[in-house]
Amino acid sequence: MVVIGAWGPMHKLLRVLIWVAVAALGALAVSTIALDRGEQINAMWLVVAAFCSYALGYRFYSKFIAAKVLALDPQRATPAERLDNGRDFVPTNKWVVFGHHFAAIAGPGPLVGPVLAAQFGYLPGTLWILAGAVLGGCVQDFVILLFSIRRDGKSLTEMAKEEIGRVGGAVAYISVISIVVILLGATALIVVNALKSSPWGTFTIAMTIPIALLMGLYLRRIRPAKVLETSLIGFVLVLVAIWGGQWVSQNAWTARAFTFTAPTLAILIIVYGFAASAMPVWLLLGPRDYLSTFVKLGTIAVLATGIVIFRPTLHMPALTSFIDGSGPVFAGKIFPFGFIIIACGAVSGFHSLISSGTTPKLIRRESEARMVGYGAMMAESLVAIMAMIAACVLQPGTYFAISSPAGIVGQAPEAAAATISSWGFPVTAAGMHSLAQAVGEQTLFNRTGGAPAFAVGMANIFSNSLGGQAVMALWYHFAIMFEALFILTILDAGTRVGRFMIQDALGHVWKPLGRTSWYPSTLATSAMIVAAWGWFLWQGVKDPLGGINSLWPLFGIANQLLATVALCVATTIIIKMGKIRYGAVTLVPLVWLVSVTFTASWNKIFNPNPRIGFLAHAQQLAASAASGHEVSRLIVNDRLDALVTGLLVSMVGLILLQSLVEWARVLSGRKAPAVKEVPFVASHFATEEQG
């Protein structure tokens, strides 16, 4: 006991000193990236700032939320324990749930958003990723996960209906299906922009279809259930396809066969989406999903290792003049658009679907929700920081040459180079041509969407060491393949999710339409959902401003409106729990998101700048001398975009209003503050551990 008495205070003092050191290091890193001007800084400062912010956020803020706001109770049995059925509800080790949850929330979003936002410089995006995640995104994922656990793993839509009201449930449903449609259209456009006029990339991605079919047959017939083994074989075959793509791009006949324009690629992707939705899951969707997860986890690990080992220098300035809204990559001022473009790396409403989906049915103890909910979002945020680094290690001129649409900088390489150089970011047509040759592309100008810039950045990081310039093309196409493969997985899986949602809704009208195994219903609803996202894709492909200019902000708005719904639900529950004094935990991010999304929506509809406002763009087209079918369609598209944005924001306004009414009724005492939690049942695991 003497030892304890002497060691205890020392141990405590040591811990305090360690946390003071972490805070000091974090402050140093943040001030270095924020205050440094005129000279390039090392990317490691961003990594250090991120690690220190996450460590402090997790240790102190998430612990405060766990103890004071949510009062996590390890003695309370979770649905995984009470409803354990060996299928959906399974008590699972926390690290395994963490991996499962992270694999579900991490997609191409945290990679694309920061790359696009790099047009403002590395500083605004980095600060938003760190603050947004620690104070908003991680909190949202954590509280929704815990609230779902306490309601037998109910979905966000069901919780909205129970805690806020019927309108809340309906709005959440419509928001979810809207976001799925817009997400699919926006991400499909990224694939089209990455693969257009790129025989190497197109060949590699095309080869993933027979590889996935082969994996499906191998899994089903030869080695049942050996998914890891099959994924490894698939991964090796994909690497062979990447290597083989080089030959395809150098041979005149094969290069021609795999060179497609953007509209042709869009049609191919729409046909693929329909086929994948209607085909048996085990044959294509399942194996592709496994393969893409394998590639995703591997790529994130490789990128993180590469950044830490090679410690690249950031060439992008901390801030660019484009914060005024004149940026070529996408139009709009830093507020609100900087906070819309980066959604998944900071706050993503989509995560609330996963936090109230499979994850709450796996958590073994309430206390583990903190690590899974808050912790996995921190990991996702780190991926966004790595994407920001990949974009900012490029020379700014190169970044803008790749990411700017032809409608802004001009079609001809010389004209584009001159325009970009006039902004103070020197670049030459000859230099871009050499870079395109080094990565095995015909051109890198006007490759909007974020994926090509990310791929060049990633190739740049590795080409300085592993294999040098000789393998730059392989790294580039590996990165392109990674993003395209993952996005195609989202397309086929998302199309099926959307199909099921439509079938659920139509089943209320006529029962057979709700049967997922009835083929006429399957074909009809697959066609409906593909037509919905295909329309957004086609509109993006035909947009002279590169499409991503309109679609990604629209996706960001839809995603963050869903986060607004999730935070409304969370705040309502906290108030009904009688913990209004801690309401700021979800109320502050809610107020921020409302101001950002509502301002962005207003701008996207009514801003007089045709590059920002849909209606102004339609008006400009109508007033221009150009006429014909194409112009009329663009005008209709703009008006429809404005209508979609208006409807989304109105619905979320409605749910916000209903939440405010509910809060007022509870706080004024007109309604009893009762939450719809399942009653307490003692956990077997807790008593077992105590014993």
Partner: protein
């Protein structure tokens, strides 16, 4: 495979790590250090955790649970049955952007 009331494999290791970390007894720290005495052992345990995560993500654990639940042995037909049973559940699983 998790069996209620008992801990196996990764769960046992994780529970052990938690209890040793949470313990305030210095002797408990020492004994835990003795048990997980070498880096090799630690790395092996970490590899087991990583493998367990991968098996869960790639549905191999779900298949093991399916076999256990229905008292079946692995074969082509049982795997086909597993895929049929899990198809709807799998495609309804949301995946983020």
């Amino acid at each position: 495979m998790m069996v209620r009331g008992r801990k196996h494999g990764v769960d046992e290791m994780i529970a052990y790590q938690e209890s040793s970390c949470e313990s305030r007894e210095p002797r408990a720290h020492m004994s835990s250090w003795v048990i997980v005495s070498t880096w090799t052992g630690y790395i092996k345990e970490m590899a087991r955790v990583v493998l367990a995560i991968l098996r869960e993500i790639f549905d191999e654990s779900a298949y093991a649970r399916f076999l256990s639940l229905h008292r079946l042995h692995s074969s082509t037909s049982t795997y086909a049955e597993f895929l049929r049973e899990h198809e709807v559940e799998k495609v309804r699983r949301p995946r983020c952007c």
